[in-house]
Amino acid sequence: MTTQTILPIDRETLAALSQSNNEPAWLSTLRLEALELAGQLELPVVEKQKISRWNLDAYGSYKSSPAIQSLSELPESLQSLVNLEESSNILVQRNSSAVFQKLSAELAAKGVIFTDLNTAIQQHGELVQKYLFTAVKKDENRLAALHAALWNGGVFVYVPKNVDVELPLQAIMLSDDATATFAPHVLIIAESNSRLTYVDNYLSTDGVGLDQAVHNGVVEVFVKPGANVRFASVQHLNATNVTYRRAVVENDGRIEWIIGEMHNGNAVSETMSVLQGNGSSSDMKVICAGTNEQKLSITTKAVHFGKSSDSQMFTRAVMRDAASAIINGITKIEKGSTKANGEQTEKVLMLSPKARGDANPILLIDEDDVTAGHAASVGQVNPEQVYYLMSRGIPKSVAERLIIHGFLAPVISEIPLENVQEQLRSLMERKLGQ
């Protein structure tokens, strides 16, 4: 018996949408193929979370938002995230489309491209086509296929060879209309020996029905030989969240991921580095916080192909109320990846008796000449630590807050922009404050 998959959009509507957005034929074809795949493929296998019961169908429809002329027109909740004076490199997406973008003349002159992905396809079609959906493929599972069919807005970053982008490139993704499709695709290409830092925020307002919506996002990062990319993302959405992030790293390239999954809705996220090149390296730091009935599946993964490649993973989760988290860390070292090294740590802190957390470190090693290590722990706030802090006069609630902050601090302090760090701190405060 085959089950009928009900797709959130039909073929004709999707084709018409692609056409009305002036998309090239190759992209229309890609979207339609992906839609067909979405009808055939299964949901991804997510350990210990029954995502088939999650609300994964409410994509809404494409709604473009009117462009704004200046950042001061942004909703107040976003104002604090941007430095209005200095933000010379910023892009804002609202619901299905970009509404604002700005790149310094200096970077533009160096050949740096920083724009929404739709615009990039119009202006740099061949470049985009070469990379789009080559790291995260449209036929991996139904959710990846649906993203490939429906993605909108998004970000395109291109940094030419030997160019060093000193200031972070910042993107803000706002979802404030539950009836609008929200599926940004971020594509970053760092050419040989270039360097860049990218920071984004995903936010939703408390608008009607947003907790019933779906956000399905994909990030693809291509790190060319000797290039160095720092990618930081703080997500705080009310919707159900699906995010696949993937970097392909060539010889001596380096990717650093700093991720804050601070959603209010259920979330599946996978952040993965494919260490293709010799001497390539990956550093992942992920924190997540779960409250109420939230269910989270957070995976970090490194796949080593290159010799002397190195991967570090560090995940911290704090769960309260009846939230549950499955934290997977996967280090896969392929045959031939000699002298590779992979280290991972997953820790879950549970703040209430009904909270649940699983930390699953997984090492899959097909090469003998490697080093690898893992550590995982699941526990409650250590009463000895609370006692110690209280013995100095600190009230119990403050003591617990200090310990929780401390548990997450190693990731928060790595966020490249001060105001985004601040935002993550206050999100944490709001989510985990008693």
């Binding site: 250590n382 009463p383 000895e384 630590q385 006692y387 110690y388 802090l389 209280m390 013995s391 100095r392 006069g393 600190i394 009230p395 119990k396 403050v398 003591a399 200090l402 310990i403 902050h405 401390g406 548990f407 997450l408 601090a409 190693p410």
Partner: protein, 260 residues
Amino acid sequence: MATKFNIDGLKATIEGKEILKGINLEIKGGEIHAIMGPNGTGKSTLASALMGHPKYEVTDGNVTLDGEDVLEMAVDERARAGLFLAMQYPSEIAGVTNSDFLRSAINARREEGSEISLIKFIRQMEGKMKELEMNPEFAHRYLNEGFSGGEKKRNEILQMLLLDPKIVILDEIDSGLDIDALKIVANGVNTMRSEERGFLIITHYQRLLNYIKPDFVHVMMQGRIVKSGGPELAERLENEGYDWVKEELGIVDETVGQEA
């Protein structure tokens, strides 16, 4: 009012086992009391029970500080009332910097809205760290994480200096310290001596008492104070050990709560 700390008939258990079997002690402001005794006689339990460690249950007795019932107070209230315990094994807390911790502790003693200014705090902290010959970088390190034994002890003394307590309990502050560090720690304590402050120093070596002169010395065995005297008692213990005390009192096994 001069500080007065009163322990009266204190009994405490851990996991159902009675360790303190009725402790009586009075400490006034300006006095330094030393509690000595071999390992396993209940000295550290006394310190922990006074501070309110959750593992210890007080089953009988009273403790008052300036007339206030200490045993009724939560751990943080005891601290704010003026009790300070320099611990033998301070906790390590990753992610919380020493300076954030210290500032939270100082601010916990202040009204909301009158928190210590950052500049004033840093000036105070740096001044005290200098007195203790601590590397300034310890302010930014995570609390006790990766500190050596001696560094942890100095950090305890730093907290004592900054929090200005009325009653200071030092639990084996000398263990793990080399002689130079011992002198620095002792010097920190001596600068804190005042009419408003009382000290209870727990140790099983006499050498700390060469640098901090006690007014009273008590010997603890089997969960009780079995002998009290002046500084000369500590010297005799140093020279002759504890056997003469045991003989005098007819004690064969001085320990308490140990498995047979």
